[in-house]
């Protein structure tokens, strides 16, 4: 099969996206309520930090605004997984019912085609809230603004997104082998709640686990260090873009491997 170029895929994505948005717009109330729900979740996270820091001056040497920065960072980096890969949540249903086989007959990349079917707009509400939080803490911390720091922020946000996407892909792909992958997906969703704390609060054993075995420290902590503590950036932070790409590539291969050995249900 001839390989299709990036432009081809972008064009197809635009077309599928338009169809998806049209069908979503027919449930307008649902769209509005879901967006409000998303913003509620983010505000609740904000409020719990606010309550905490009214009682305590800092957590492990991290002040209120630094923690908010981590929080905003994790929200922004979670947006791609929310917007582009939301169909992963339905994967187990498609696989179970046998409907997944329809994706296997298209002459385009299977992973791309499957994920492109759903674009979750409510992720954009989260993105706006996350950017707002980032800017607010940025100003309060007096971080300054140069093109270099902006470039760093963008690169490391992409890194963090790649890692979150990799985790979710891998969790969703397990449904090709086990019946109910919902709980694994739900577990990875919970990771994002843990990602907003600095990893230094943990004991060395768990620091190791959360860095190498369940790499949640890469979602906000290691990338943020580059911007928040530029004098003491560990090697791991600089390596994290590499890790991000590697993890994502691996999860993609796992997903495709599962999909390729999928034999349908015969219906």
């Amino acid at each position: 099969m001839k390989r299709k170029g990036l432009g081809f895929y972008l064009k197809i994505y635009g077309k599928i996206l338009a169809q998806d948005l049209k069908s979503k717009m027919s449930y307008r109330a649902d769209f509005i309520i879901s967006t409000i729900g998303m913003i509620f979740t983010n505000i609740a996270g904000f409020v719990s930090f606010w309550i905490l820091f009214r009682n305590f001056p800092s957590i492990n040497g991290w002040n209120y605004y630094e923690i908010l920065f981590l929080y905003g960072f994790s929200l922004v980096s979670l947006t791609p997984v929310q917007c582009f890969l939301d169909n992963n949540w339905s994967l187990r249903m498609y696989v179970y019912s046998g409907d997944f086989i329809k994706y296997c007959f298209r002459p385009i990349n299977l992973f791309f085609y499957y994920q492109s079917e759903v674009f979750d707009i409510k992720g954009l509400g989260q993105l706006a809230f996350g950017i707002g939080t980032l800017i607010y803490s940025w100003i309060k911390l007096g971080l300054g603004f140069t093109p270099l720091i902006l470039l760093k922020t963008i690169v490391f946000l992409i890194t963090a997104s790649l890692i979150m996407m990799a985790l979710q892909n891998a969790a969703a792909a397990t449904c090709f082998w086990i019946q109910n992958s919902f709980y694994l997906l739900d577990l990875t969703l919970k990771f994002k709640d843990y990602a907003k704390y600095p990893i230094t609060i943990f004991s060395p054993v768990f620091r190791f686990i959360f860095t190498f075995i369940m790499p949640i420290a890469f979602i906000a902590y290691y990338p943020s260090l580059v911007i928040l503590r530029p004098d003491e950036v560990p090697l791991l932070s600089w390596l994290s873009p590499l890790f991000g790409c590697a993890f994502f590539w691996f999860s993609y291969k796992l997903w495709m491997f599962g999909a390729m050995k999928y034999s349908g249900t015969g219906s």
Binding site: Y27, A29, D30, I32, I33, S34, T35, I36, G37, M38, F40, T41, A44, V47, S48, I51, L52, R54, N55, F56, P57, S58, I59, N60, G61, K122, I178, Q179, N180, F182, Y183, L184, D186, L187, K190, Y194, Y197, I201, F202, S203, F206, M214
Partner: protein
Amino acid sequence: MKLKKYLSLTRIGIIESRQFRLATVIMVIGNLLYLIVVYFLWKSIYASVETDVVNGMTFTDTLIYLVLATALFNFMEMYAVWEMGRNIQSGKIVLDLLKPIEYRRYLFWSYSGSFVTQFFFTFLPTFIVVSVVTHGAVPLGINLLYFAVSVILAVLINYSIDFIVGTICLYTESIWGINIMKQVIVLLLSGATVPIAFFPEPLKTVVYYLPFQSIYNAPLTLLLDGSPTLETVVTTLGTQLLWCVGMTLLGKLFWKFSLRQITVNGG
């Protein structure tokens, strides 16, 4: 025999939930991770202040409170909103309405089986681990009895809130958004994320006038208080009972009223 038909629903629920063993294992792992995060987070939070007691709560108190709140959440959360919403969208609800049993009761009793399994597989182990780890900081006496009564009331209040929220789905046809809003509000305002004792003043008073604190805060306060005065017990349980009756009635009336309004897609 009237109770027999309900108990057979309980039995079915127990058998059903035993089918998903892997899901239980993953849930236990997820809980364990959460407990680890909570432990280290609050340890470093308490390390940042000089005093041992903040707002009348020591580190151990806070830990027991939050860990058991999570255990209670896992045990009480039955995704009734999801179930109702899905049944409304698919039209299956028509079949449930035709059953010779009130829908509200049917739903509750069909979940009661998972209450039983969740209690033995998540709540009880967590409770024992917490008691051992904190070297008997959980007082074991008459307060256990109050706690048990309080938890039963909390389950009923939680179910009533779920049922009311589920009824709203009849109108909006939005499940995710409604459910996430409910979950966020309940978890924050019931003290499951940050203990209510830490809330700043005006907010604290407001929260005490809302039904949510009766779900997690009330049972946990009764449990942690080794020798509660009669007055505390009576006011806490009394408030819970009031909310329980009030929310149940409200749910019933709302459901009865809404049932006349709905249009269901052919099931």
